[in-house]
């Protein structure tokens, strides 16, 4: 039996931060600043969401020599779908936009 749980406030913030430009890769620290989440909240969320297939991660070459490669994140198709569904669910019914 599967159980659907409403995403937490922090997860919604991360989904919102990542779904602004869903195809763009974002670094961890940038996401912290964007969402206002601390590293202690952001990384467990990223770990969970990666395990659940909502977020994908890749290593990116450093922008400056001598710096380490950085981990970057973006939403998968399932992540984008969840972000949209959460956005719809959170929107007041009077303002819901119906497709043309």
């Amino acid at each position: 039996m599967t159980r659907s749980r409403r995403p937490s406030k922090q997860m919604l913030a991360l989904l919102e931060g990542l779904s602004e430009r869903p195809r763009e890769w974002r670094h961890g620290y940038e996401l912290m600043k964007k969402t206002g989440l601390s590293s202690g909240t952001l990384y467990p969320l990223l770990m969970r969401m990666t395990e659940q297939g909502l977020v994908e991660a890749e290593w990116q070459a450093p922008a400056q020599p001598g710096r380490p490669a950085r981990h970057a994140y973006r939403l998968t198709a399932s992540g984008v779908a969840l972000a949209r569904a959460s956005e719809e669910a959170g929107r007041p019914s009077g303002l819901r936009v119906s497709p043309a």
Binding site: P68, R70, H71
Partner: protein
């Protein structure tokens, strides 16, 4: 200084994440430079430690780390503290009298046996502390050596108190406690051996 502390904390977070979380550990380490440029390295690093510790129960190596810390800090170190407290207090009354509620018989004949018994109990306490440290270090060969020393001190104190004070109940209770502790250490060592964590 703050950046060095932050790097040490991120390294601690990485160690707590274990082998399975090494990718995440590297990801956190790589972001530290960006946080340092904003002057927020320490806050970022503390968050990483909190994140890593929150993840401990979620993976087996984390559960092993929690179990070994619990064994060392909840069982072995308090046992050592109690033994040392009994030596520092009104020894041997605090040590021998605790078992049956009756005060031990200390007279001119067995008074000279008190300092060697205090040394034995102190040695047992020191062995507890050494075992606790080595369990955290996962140095099982040296744990075995320290366990032998603790067992020898416990058995000697049973014989010593039986002969000198005609009351070995407290020493037997200490030896029994040590057996339970060493059984827990052996179980932890077997767990470590099965999984062969780094």
């Amino acid at each position: 200084m703050r950046e060095k502390a932050a790097r040490a904390l991120v390294a601690l977070a990485g160690r707590s994440l274990g082998g399975g979380g090494s990718g995440w550990a590297l990801a956190m380490e790589a972001e530290l430079d960006a946080a340092a440029e904003d002057g927020r390295a320490l806050g970022f690093a503390l968050g990483c430690v909190a994140a890593a510790w929150r993840e401990l129960p979620a993976h087996e190596e984390g559960r092993f780390i929690l179990a070994s810390n619990a064994l060392a800090l909840v069982l072995l170190v308090p046992a050592a503290a109690l033994l040392l407290a009994s030596v520092a207090g009104d020894f041997p009354f605090s040590y021998l009298g605790a078992a049956g509620g009756q005060m031990p018989l200390v007279n001119d004949a067995n008074l000279p046996a008190v300092p060697p018994l205090a040394a034995l109990v102190a040695l047992l306490a020191a062995a507890h502390l050494r075992i606790a440290w080595l369990v955290l270090e996962r140095d099982w060969d040296r744990v075995a050596g320290a366990a032998m020393l603790a067992a020898a001190a416990a058995v000697t104190s049973v014989i010593f108190t039986a002969v000198a004070f005609v009351d070995c109940a407290s020493a037997i209770r200490q030896a029994g406690t040590l057996c339970v502790e060493l059984a827990a250490v052996a179980a932890l060592a077997r767990w470590h051996g099965r999984r062969a964590y780094a």
